[in-house]
């Protein structure tokens, strides 16, 4: 180790001798390379790159050199110190990577472990399918209307052209609400969502474009395909110049958006007191698209190999209904339809038994999640 001196002979300052600087540099780089861990590297750094390391001390000697020699010695020592410092940094980074890799491996967990602390909930598929059906019409500019489930007979029957002695009135098996002491109350559990047609015409400004999803009631015993409580989606349009062609158009749009583009629909003449003309609506089977018809090798369970699926009833609003709802039949006409929501869920999602929809078994509901 050299002490400061006042001698100006560079040759005399052995620490700055090129060989000596080279030796210190080699020694340092060697030690750095051999450092096995971050702790050891820290020691090596102090020893070879610290304030009291040979290269640092050599650097101090430079001041003692005559001006002519300073530049060369400075370049030599500085280069060595930079090389050592960079080597430390590189080794440091390398060792840190190695440490991280090791530690993160040690911290590995079994990501396949279940974490079902809170059992998952779900919305009822009848709710979500009804929302989806309604939303398609909302997308066409319709609004969603509502009405009471315990309904006045006038709204449920009379205003819809079910006259008191008309056979159609007994066709629907109605739950009647008892009045005081068993007298007639004039109230029923609505047998369809159609009373909301009348309410909508009375409550809203014309034109009216509404759909009505809702609960309906008929005195059918619960079995695989019937339920005393079920759901319908009603549609009603009252506007100027409305025709059957507009009804076909709306149903066509609905079927294509709900079940698939290009599906055909057809109407068959039928009878409902509140529409005239009336029709039943079928859509092409969205599963087989008719390929199963007359083809016993490829039967279709969705349409029973009929090629068509009945989806509901519809028709031109009977002008008598418009009259009862105070609508000017000279100026306005309309159409209406009713679709079964249970039925839609059954064929669209393969529900085989009505019991599943009414019993509230969490396994059934869970299968459908939050949205359709």
């Amino acid at each position: 180790m050299s002490a400061p001196n006042n001698s100006y002979d560079p040759v005399e300052v052995s620490a700055l001798h090129p060989d000596e600087v080279e030796r210190m540099r080699t020694e340092a780089l060697d030690a750095i390379a051999k450092a096995a861990g971050l702790e050891e590297l820290k020691e090596v750094r102090i020893a070879h790159a610290g304030d009291r390391s040979p290269l640092a001390l050599a650097n101090r000697e430079i001041g003692a050199l005559p001006p002519a020699a300073k530049a060369e010695a400075g370049k030599r020592v500085g280069g060595a110190r930079r090389a050592v410092s960079e080597a430390v940094k590189a080794r440091q980074s390398q060792l840190e990577d190695e440490r991280d890799a090791r530690v993160l491996v040690e911290e590995a967990v079994d990501v396949t472990l279940p974490f079902d602390r809170i059992p998952r909930g779900a919305r009822h598929p009848l709710t979500t399918v009804a929302e989806r059906m309604a939303d398609i019409f909302v997308g066409m500019g319709f609004e969603v209307a509502e009405g009471p489930e315990v309904e006045a007979e006038w709204y449920n029957f009379d205003a819809l052209n079910f006259l008191p002695d008309h056979p159609a009135r007994t066709m629907q098996d109605t739950f009647f609400v008892a009045g005081p002491d068993g007298a007639e109350s004039g109230l029923v559990l609505r047998t369809h969502t159609s009373p909301v047609q009348v309410r909508s015409m009375l409550d809203r400004e014309l034109p009216v474009y509404v759909v009505v999803p809702g609960r309906t009631f008929r005195t059918d015993e619960l079995d695989a395909t019937h339920s005393p409580v079920f759901h319908q989606l009603e549609g009603l349009v009252v506007d100027e110049g409305i025709t059957l062609a507009h009804l076909r158009g709306a149903i066509q749009v609905f079927v294509e958006r709900m079940f698939g583009e290009g599906l055909r629909t057809r109407m068959r003449p039928s009878y409902f007191p509140f529409t005239e003309p009336s029709a039943e609506v079928d859509m092409e089977c969205f599963v087989c698209r008719g390929a199963s018809v007359g083809n016993p090798d490829a039967p279709c369970r969705t349409c029973s190999s009929e090629g068509w699926i009945e989806i509901g009833g519809c028709g031109v609003v009977n002008p008598r209904v418009l009259t009862a709802a105070g609508v000017d039949t000279e100026r306005y006409s309309g159409w209406a339809f009713g679709l079964g929501i249970e039925r839609t869920l059954m064929f669209a999602h393969g529900v085989k038994d009505m019991h599943d929809m009414v019993e509230g078994d969490i396994r059934f509901t869970a299968a459908f999640g939050m949205e359709m």
Binding site: H124, E149, V150, D158, A178, P228, H246, P277, A324, I362
Partner: protein, 831 residues
């Protein structure tokens, strides 16, 4: 209506190549709902022929008498030799003409006929009964064909009508005419554009006064009344095979020739007929409404109290028929009746409908009258019936004819000439509209832009312009109507309430609840189970007049019974950790509501007063959301222990529901059935006019748990969603300060009975405007705080919008908060 095609083809010249299925779809397209096409007799194959019994040898020594017969089957057996057949039936004699299934034939039930040894002889075939051939229901033994029906060896298929196709049509209430072969044939002829022969085209008799005396009291109840009679009828004469076969295929049981004839004519023409034993009638007939107290024992042996709205047929003895619905027992045609009087009438539809409902008597006759029968066909029907009785029963048709024609001709319907096209959205030429209406049977007179249309007598359903349009459109084809997109204005989307409901459903499902949709029916027992006091408003429920289940005649006033029963079902199926919710209406009759909803007219819209009167009678039907929890709310697992569902989960569910609407609930302790009195919260929302109770939540009372068979400590919540929705206002944006927060934690000692919500409210108010939030982060009870006391630890976050708070400001706010809590709740700052 079951329509055998062989019968139909008698009146419509359908092309041979039209298959039953093709006919069915054509009729469906025209509006007749053909439900099925039954292919009858396809399961009978091979040689089935007529045979003459040559001789019978009685075999003895067996358990029952057996006959060995030699039967002439002509050349049908290939040899011309008599066929030897063993037969167990005895209702035939030598020389009779019978039906023989020869070896090689297969009968229904895959019953193959072959020569086989039986009773010691070889039996080469079978002499057939009606039931073996499924001709009709009969247990009378083998069929004996009428003499001259066929030669031995003749094919029996055509002779008996073994094979046929039957359309089963669900007739809609507007198409009464389709409840007849005549009506369906006319429809088929129109669809295929082929000739139709009207079976009602029967030459009417000369009018005369010699008929059975009859009067109609009021043309409003009967517009046409026809009586015709026969004498010398042979009550023992059998119905011919073809008639029995057709009636069977049409779904009508054969009774006797006289009755079969009335049914046959009814099926063919759609006109219900009644046959009396004329000798049982007493004096002239009167058609009138019943008088109070009158009674009649009908054919089904029920003595019926008659209603003054019932139309009766009476004679001097009193009522003899409930008109159009059912005959009386005393004047019934019997097996000794030789003089028969046939009635064909047109009764008022509405009376028949009411009578049928009132007496719960629905007959083939009442079904047709309710839907409307041809108002002009009565004479043809009666004439056809007596002709058949004469022809088949050896009777002589009486000359006398009773014909009371009290109906008024129909007024024409005046419609725009483009009526159907305007409704369909298709420009039909006027000629098309006219041609189609004439095809239906209408008389049409064009007058410029209008048509004057008189519908035929068999179409009472055609009353309005739209009815006429439907006739045109269905024949032009619904499939030819174009699909035109609707053109609604841009809508407003869902209402806030509708969006809120979806949000609530998603919130609860996110929180682990499964949605159920329970029936809204309940019984007293359900309310007792909830431990409701006698005067509880929820006991005031609407009652169904005709419940499906006598134990559940009430309409729900609360969602809880349905939810609890669904919970029990899930637990019973092995799901003990269960959280359910339901959103739906409850039905709350209002005291003082009108006892009966008024029936308004339908010839105009109701006035606001009339609407209000109807609406006042309709009960309040608020929408609620309810939820129940049982078992573990959080499951145990590798992460640690689970946590049981508690009262707190139920109350939190209510808070989440309210939060979905942007509403903060105020929670207060309450005592309210069906909840545990110490674990029940009343839930309020704050509004402009003070707080409003919106529901309850907590743990159920142990007695409720027991009554419903629930697992222990079930928690439940029920909230009136409509009230929460009403409290929801538009959110306003908060000031979001970027200055640093100052947090102050305080632990307060209070008496055990003090409610945390009150302490928190005091802290909030005391801390003032600088308070950003306050949160209870710990509750401690135990020795360190003394018995009957608890420590509540709160974290107060303080922040100003315009500056960094100084330590002094933060401390001052905290002190003020604690001071107010001390004043209000006796809280002491814990050292």
């Amino acid at each position: 209506m079951r329509v055998p095609l062989s019968w139909l083809r008698e009146y419509v010249e359908l092309p041979e190549e039209v298959t039953p299925r093709a006919l069915a779809s054509a009729l469906i397209s025209a509006g007749l709902e053909v439900e099925t096409v039954d292919v009858v007799g396809a399961d009978i194959t091979g040689p089935v022929v007529a045979g003459r019994v040559l001789d019978i040898e009685e075999l003895t020594g067996f358990k029952k008498p057996i006959r060995f017969c030699r039967v002439d089957v002509g050349g049908a057996n290939g040899t011309g030799e008599p066929q030897e057949i063993v037969c167990g039936a005895r209702n035939f004699a030598e020389g009779d003409l019978v039906v023989v299934a020869l070896p090689g034939a297969v009968l229904p039930g895959d019953f193959a006929i072959s020569a086989r040894k039986t009773y010691g002889r070889v039996s080469a075939g079978m002499i057939c009964s009606a039931s073996e051939l499924e001709l009709w229901e009969d247990h009378a033994g083998i069929i004996v064909l009428p003499e001259g029906a066929a030669d031995p060896g003749a094919d029996a298929y055509g002779l008996l009508g073994l094979r046929d196709d039957v359309l089963d049509i669900a007739v809609t209430p507007d198409r009464g005419y389709a409840l007849s072969i005549r009506g369906v044939a006319r429809e088929a002829a129109a669809v295929y554009g082929v000739p139709f022969t009207d079976p009602a085209d029967v030459a009417p008799p000369e009018r005369n006064d010699g008929g059975y005396p009859a009067v109609v009291a009021d043309p409003e109840i009967c517009s046409r009344y026809v009586l015709r009679g026969v004498s010398g009828f042979d009550p023992a004469a059998p119905s011919p095979l073809w008639m029995r076969r057709r009636l069977h295929l049409a779904g009508v049981r054969s009774v006797s020739l006289a009755v079969d004839v009335t049914n046959y004519v009814m099926m063919e023409l759609g006109q219900p007929l009644h046959a009396w034993d004329r000798s049982a009638l007493r004096g002239p007939i009167e058609v009138r409404l019943a008088k109070p107290g009158e009674k009649l024992e009908t054919l089904d042996h029920v003595v019926r109290e008659l209603d003054p709205d019932d139309i009766l047929i009476t004679d001097d003895s009193g009522p003899i028929n409930i008109a159009g619905v059912m005959g009386g027992l005393d004047t019934e045609i019997g097996d000794a009746s030789t003089d028969v009087l046939i009635e064909a009438a047109h009764f008022a539809e509405t009376h028949i409908a009411r009578t049928s409902r009132r007496h719960q008597l629905s007959s083939e006759s009442s079904r047709r009258f309710e839907r409307g029968v041809d108002s002009a066909v009565q004479m043809a029907a009666a004439t056809r019936a007596v002709a058949l009785l004469a022809e088949l029963g050896g009777a002589v048709v009486d000359d006398g004819v009773t014909h009371l024609d009290l109906g008024a001709p129909r007024d024409p319907i005046v419609v725009r000439a483009d009526n159907a096209g305007r409704i369909a959205g298709v420009a039909y030429p006027v000629e098309t509209e006219i041609a189609r209406l004439r095809l239906v049977g209408c008389e049409v007179v064009q007058d410029g832009d209008t048509l004057s249309v008189t519908p035929p007598t068999w179409r009472p359903d055609l009353t309005d312009p739209n009815d006429l349009a439907e006739e045109v459109i269905r024949y032009e084809g619904y499939e030819n109507i174009p699909a035109v997109r609707p053109r609604a204005e841009a809508g407003r989307g869902l209402t806030r309430g509708q969006r809120l409901r979806r949000g609530v459903g998603r919130t609860l499902a996110d929180a682990g609840f499964s949605e159920v949709l329970n029936y809204p029916f309940m019984g007293e027992r359900d309310l007792d189970g909830l431990q409701l006091e006698p005067g509880d408003a929820r006991r005031s429920a609407l009652r169904l007049a005709n419940p499906l289940n006598d134990d559940e005649p009430l309409l729900r006033t609360t969602l809880l019974p349905g939810l609890l029963k669904a919970l029990v079902r899930n637990v019973g199926r092995g799901f003990g950790d269960v959280a359910l919710f339901e959103m739906g209406l409850v039905y709350r009759p209002e005291p003082g509501a009108p006892e009966r909803a008024p029936m308004l007219g339908v010839d105009r819209g109701p006035t606001p007063e009339e609407r209000a009167a109807v609406d006042a009678a309709i009960p309040n039907q608020p929408r609620r959301v309810g939820a129940v929890l049982a078992g573990q709310r959080e499951r145990a697992g590798w992460w640690g222990p689970g946590r049981a569902a508690t009262w707190a989960d139920a109350i939190q569910a209510a808070r989440e529901v309210a939060a979905a609407a942007g509403v903060e609930l105020v929670v207060r302790a309450d005592r309210h059935a069906p909840w545990h009195p110490g674990r029940c919260a009343a839930l309020y929302v704050a509004g402009a006019d003070g707080e409003r109770l919106v529901g309850h939540a907590g743990e159920l009372h142990p007695r409720v748990v027991k009554a419903y068979g629930l697992p222990e400590r079930v928690a439940a919540v029920e909230v009136e969603l409509d009230l929460v929705e009403a409290a929801a206002g538009a959110a306003t944006a908060p000031e979001v300060s970027t200055y640093p927060v100052a947090t102050q934690d305080v632990a307060l000692l209070v008496d055990g009975t003090v409610h945390a919500a009150d302490v928190e409210a005091a802290l909030r108010e005391g801390a003032g405007a600088l308070l950003e939030s306050v949160r209870l982060f710990d509750v401690y009870t135990g020795e360190q705080v003394g018995e009957g006391r608890k420590s509540l630890a709160y974290s107060l976050r303080l922040r100003a919008g315009d500056r960094t708070l100084t330590a002094e400001e933060a401390t001052a706010a905290r002190d003020a908060a604690v001071a107010l809590a001390a004043e209000r709740t006796g809280a002491v700052l814990r050292g």
